[in-house]
């Protein structure tokens, strides 16, 4: 890989957002993902390459570590922060069409559930992997999901639930969506959720970590 792209990847993986980021301590005073991304674009490296070979690779690496139990939620959060800093320089190319999103993913925490850290991480990891994410927030009703689906034809849907008490609501929301849009793919996650539960309520998959979802999306929706 190009040395500059490798440096960007490392910044994402370690959560070094920009020059001013005090973290990680051993990278203080060094430029971060934001400045290096800008430099790569100035050097004529295509935004698609920067996104695919540097940014997504960085998020993949930390996601894989998380799946293996070698990284934790804070590591994902700080990597996503660096990713977002770099993405600020890639975003204009999405608008001009030079870089294409992998697709649209509508995400929310189901009705009655206010816990959003898991959902936020999935959002950040998906964005970091080139998806446009429509984040409906917390406590999202079936109606709100349906409205978003209608506004974003062809999207996929993710919903999370941390509480066992809101899992029944998840089942209801999945049923409401599938009744109107039988072909839509819905993925679920959250602490008490299992594959068995996913199968039972007719969702299209359960993933215990965001990397699992990303890899599944790559398989079913390659670009």
């Amino acid at each position: 890989m190009n040395e500059l792209l490798e440096k960007i990847t490392l910044c994402i993986e370690r959560g070094k957002a920009d020059l001013n980021s005090p973290f990680p301590a051993d990278m203080q005073g060094q430029v971060g993902a934001a400045e290096l991304t800008q430099r790569a674009l100035q050097q004529g490296i295509s935004p698609n390459r920067v996104l695919g070979e540097a940014l997504i690779t960085g998020m993949h690496r930390v996601g894989e570590k998380f799946s293996r139990g070698e990284a934790f939620v804070p590591d994902l959060l700080i990597a996503a922060k660096a990713m977002n800093a770099a993405m600020a320089h890639i975003k204009p190319f999405f608008e001009t069409g030079e870089v294409r999103r992998k697709g649209t993913f509508v995400i929310g925490t189901v009705a009655g559930d206010l816990h959003d850290i898991g959902k936020n991480i999935v959002r950040m990891v998906l964005e970091g992997n080139g998806w446009e994410v429509i984040d409906l927030g917390i406590n999202v009703s079936g109606e709100k999901f349906l409205n978003a689906i209608e506004q974003h034809p062809g999207c996929m849907v993710g919903m999370s639930s941390l509480l066992t008490t809101t899992m029944a609501g998840m089942e209801k929301t999945v049923a409401e969506i599938k009744a109107k849009h039988p072909g839509i793919r819905i993925f679920i996650g959250g602490a008490p959720v299992t594959k068995k539960f996913s199968d039972k309520i007719g969702a299209d998959g359960y993933f215990p970590d965001p990397q699992g979802l990303v890899e599944h999306l790559e398989r079913i929706h390659p670009r």
């Binding site: 934790f72 406590n139 509480l163």
Partner: protein, 390 residues
């Protein structure tokens, strides 16, 4: 010889062998009692199923020597809610916000310098924070200057303990922020500032996080020191935001352990046992939690409930240092299975964590819904889990 429930609990807490497996539950939720048992009391619940009873005692009082007083605007405290403490420089006003999807209450904490705001919402199951009071970093200075530190009402604790006698365990809490908080310093900070914000600040402004935690620690310290003479059998510490499904072992070591270990030590000096609550991932931090020198750990949430507990491995790693509480998957084995499967799960827990005592069987946190026949199977089977006497 058959032990009383209290003796049984205490034997387990001291990592000794009781007559049989102590079997109880985490908080008995009002929602559950109302929906499934016609609103019977906690005590009736324990008697009906033959579980070992716990009396959760919330007893704090204002430090009158400092001019603090109970919040005159507070109504009857709700489930596990403390009586709030105010002062001339920390007054609480609250208002119900109409027209919301959930019952919504806005609290105003009025100080001479600034008014902090917090919003709580609730449904039939539970209450949650929808607006955090710490919005700017300087807001923690307001807490440091004006937030009163309640004391333990030892007389009330002892009255309850006396009345409970040998019936069961008297369990208390290290205080949290009055309106909505929890025992551990990190946990309380997460409630007040938001866990995601707090995690990010450990990277970007760790000094500020330490100042914040220290402020909360100093308030809890006053309470913990006042526990001397209070006849609690165990007091709860910690909180789920310190679990490894939320934070990393490094953050636990750097930001959770220093403060929670010192509080544990102070609680011991005050003659109290401490149970550390982490309702989430525990396996990567088992030894780090045990190093807080706590007496017991809970909830050992299994993977089917969103945790990662492996009881057998945990017993091997920390079973000689702490009493283990929990480990039972209440979501799957109090619902949608046969009584035989529930009984089998009880036996699994006993086999994996019960050896040599030092284990209290309990659902891994509270539950809202349960098939009563499965709850009965849980209690009945647990009572059959006996220890061979040497």
């Amino acid at each position: 010889m058959m032990m009383t429930a209290k003796e049984r609990f205490l034997a387990a807490l001291e990592r000794k062998v009781p007559d049989r497996l102590p079997a109880t539950t985490h908080h008995v939720m009002p929602y559950f009692l109302k929906k499934y048992l016609n609103g019977i009391s906690c005590e009736e619940f324990f008697d009906r199923f033959g579980l070992d009873p716990i009396d959760w005692v919330v007893a704090q009082k204002p430090d009158e020597s400092k001019g603090d007083f109970f919040d005159p605007t507070q109504g009857e405290p709700g489930f596990l809610e403390p009586r709030r403490v105010c002062s001339e420089n920390w007054r609480i006003r609250w208002e119900e916000i109409p027209g919301q999807e959930y019952r919504t209450v806005r609290y105003h904490f009025i100080t001479p310098e600034k008014t902090l705001g917090m919003v709580l919402q609730s449904n039939d199951y539970t209450t949650w924070v929808s607006e955090r009071p710490i919005k700017e970093k300087s807001d923690i200075d307001i807490l440091a200057k004006y937030l009163p530190a309640p004391l333990c009402d030892a007389a009330e604790v002892n009255r309850r303990a006396e009345a409970y006698g040998q019936r069961g365990l008297i369990r208390g809490f290290i205080i949290g922020f009055d309106v909505y908080g929890q025992a551990g310093c990190w946990q309380d900070a997460a409630v007040l500032f938001g866990i995601e914000n707090l995690i990010m600040e450990t990277f970007y402004d760790p000094d500020w996080v330490h100042i914040f935690l220290k402020i909360l620690f100093e308030r809890k310290k006053i309470y913990v020191q006042s526990l001397r003479g209070a006849k609690f059998d165990v007091v709860e510490h910690g909180g789920g935001d310190a679990s490894s499904t939320i934070i990393s072992p490094q953050i636990f070591q750097d930001f959770v352990a220093p403060y929670d270990a010192e509080l544990t030590e102070l609680a011991h000096q005050a003659g109290q046992r401490v149970v550390y609550h982490t309702c989430g991932g525990m396996m990567p931090i088992l030894e780090k939690v045990a190093e807080l020198k706590i007496d017991a750990m809970e909830t050992f949430t299994p993977p089917g409930m969103g945790g990662d507990a492996k009881l057998k491995e945990a017993k091997k790693r920390i079973g000689e240092r702490v009493c283990m509480i929990g480990g039972f998957d209440q979501f799957h084995f109090f619902n949608e299975c046969s009584p035989a499967e529930t009984r089998k799960e009880v036996r699994r827990c006993f086999a994996e964590a019960g050896e040599g005592g030092g284990y209290i069987l309990s659902p891994s946190d509270h539950f809202f819904d349960a098939d009563l026949s499965l709850l009965q199977a849980f209690a009945d089977e647990a009572r059959q889990c006996r220890y061979a006497r040497g």
